[in-house]
Amino acid sequence: MSSEAIVQSTPVRPALALRLLLAAVVAALLVALPFAAKAFGLESFTGLATQVVIYAIAAMSLNLILGYGGMVSFGHAAFFGVGAYAAGILYFHFADRSAFLGLIPGTDSLLIAVLAAMLVSGLVAAIIGAFSLRTGGVQFIMITLAFAQMLFFLFVSLETYGGDDGLIMRRREVLPFIDTRDAVTFYYLCLAAAALWLMLTACIVRSRFGFVLNGMRQNEQRMAAMGYAPYPYKLVAFIIAGMGAGLAGALMANYLRFASPDMLHWTKSGELMMMVILGGAGTLFGPLLGAAALVLLEAFLTAQTENWQLPLGIILLVIVLFSHGGLVALIRRFVPDKS
């Protein structure tokens, strides 16, 4: 084959249409879900689906660094929690008619809260990433975990914002023309946010930046030998991921009308990692599937027994030990994506 021929031949994907169809079906199901829930008298299912969609955003953001960038961050819940608190604190000062640090007035605008949450989470991710990415491997795992734990203690100690007990929001934050208090509307709002984040991720991983990031995961030494400095690329990815988790956190705080230190707890970081692995790390739809699987499994188990963590632990252990590639790999057995 001549060099001209290589350039001409675009990668052939016979199953592409099938995969697009699958994605369309999933999207249609997600859109139709509240109506189906209503028809079957299972309105509470919409709430569960809202949680799935919000966790999917957090898991997708983690997947960018974990799945595509190969950075095993064990502190991702920190950004989720910071986002939640950013939204909660803004609402607190709005209700309290006071100002954060005496400077920043509160707001009950969901849009501003979400943007602020992403900004603050991104900033925190920049700081934590700047330190943690100086190392790699086992140290990176421990350091990200430790920094998340540090923020956990910080929020526990903030008595003004509820300390240990967390911060209750009396109402959801609002948007013009949209009734965020309506469960179905709020679900669609979160679904739209998740779709946007999915599209953003899809762009990033195919872009020049994502190309480099994917290379970093596979072999940093090779990337350096081709002229790429690992640190700045990884840091930028870490910040984007932090912003995604912040977005999810702000939405979750509004969904629950509650932000608490539990959202930054290390077990939450573990759950987010589980979602990514369960669905399939380094795949676009994996985190969505993983979030759905874990949230639904937990909901099912908690309904069965008080000691739900025991079966959950056993199921997760078996999956980690004996599965490779998660749910997406399982689906690909039936819908292959390579010729």
Partner: protein, 303 residues
């Protein structure tokens, strides 16, 4: 005198951290495995000791039970789960041991309930001694410090003067080298893991009379032990020792004195809460500073 007392408390906490992080750092260094269940082994040691102490009243039997319980639990975990993880990446190790923590913690809750157990001080040690005029200190805590120092000494001898120690030192720099030496790696790994479990069990058993024995106690100290390993440097026992003492002292002293200092500038209850929070953060800030200056830890050669 209050300061001296708190310094002793800090050393005692540092000793507990050292016992935990010594095992962790060995397991990382030699086996390249990140093991989150190390905290669970600490909890197993604490529960085993607490239950036997309550049944028999013998502190010695309680200590032995703590050691044996943690060692058995450690070896079972190694044989059933960890062994399958040596060839896997860190991510699988984290997730598998994370799942194990869920299993172990829930099992402990089902067996022993959510109420914390309180352990009687061994009668022979349940008194205080006067160290200096004005400095009265609980004998039990002094014994804990002494035991920890003895263990540290023993580990130093083990690492520097035995064949196993030679393998450990070699393994911390190059795992391939140890493989190349034709050592029975499986046995070495199980031994190291057992040793780590034993140290965690010792820490847990000795913690019983000082802390409440409850589910979740393991993870609290586990994360601090991680910090110590990062500060000291992965694979370095010496680093774990000094790192643990440093972390123990800083954590204890901040907790003891920071709220008081804050109360000078703000209202009492707020100062207490903020002081507690900030002192919990102190160790992590120390870690951040160490990372800035020496990214691989204080006691590991930087390349």
């Amino acid at each position: 005198m209050l300061v001296l007392e708190q310094i002793l408390n800090g050393i005692q906490f540092g000793i507990a951290l050292f016992l935990m992080s010594a095992g962790l750092t060995l397991i990382f260094g030699i086996m390249g495995v990140i093991n989150l269940t190390h905290g669970s082994l600490y909890m197993v040691g604490a529960y085993a000791a607490a239950l036997v102490a309550a049944k028999t009243g013998s502190a010695l039997l309680a200590l032995l039970a703590g050691l044996a319980g943690a060692a058995v639990a450690g070896i079972v975990i190694e044989l059933v789960v960890i062994r399958r993880l040596y060839a896997r990446d860190h991510l699988d190790q984290v997730l598998a041991t994370f799942a194990l923590i869920l299993i172990i913690n829930q099992s402990a809750t089902m067996l022993f309930g959510r109420q914390p157990l309180f352990v009687q001080m061994p009668p022979a040690l349940a008194r205080s001694v006067t160290l200096l005029p004005g400095l009265v200190y609980p004998l039990y805590r002094l014994v804990v410090i002494a035991v920890g120092l003895l263990v540290a000494l023993g580990l130093a001898l083990l690492i520097n003067h035995t064949r196993i120690g030679m393998l450990v030192r070699a393994g911390a720099t190059s795992r391939e080298m140890v493989r190349a030496l034709g050592v029975d790696i499986r046995l070495l790994y199980t031994l190291i893991f057992g040793l780590g479990a034993l140290l965690a069990g010792l820490a847990g058993a000795m913690a019983g009379p000082i802390l409440a024995v409850q589910v979740g106690m393991g993870e609290q100290i586990l994360i601090l032990a991680f910090v110590v390993v990062v500060i000291g440097g992965v694979g370095s026992i010496r680093g774990a020792f000094y790192g643990a003492l440093l972390a123990g002292l800083i954590d204890t002293l901040l907790r003891a004195f920071l709220p008081g200092l804050l109360r000078q500038v703000m209202a009492g209850s707020n100062a207490d809460a903020l002081g507690a929070g900030l002192s919990s953060m102190g160790v992590y800030l120390l870690m951040a500073i160490v990372l800035l200056v020496r990214p691989k830890g204080l006691f590991v050669k930087q390349s």
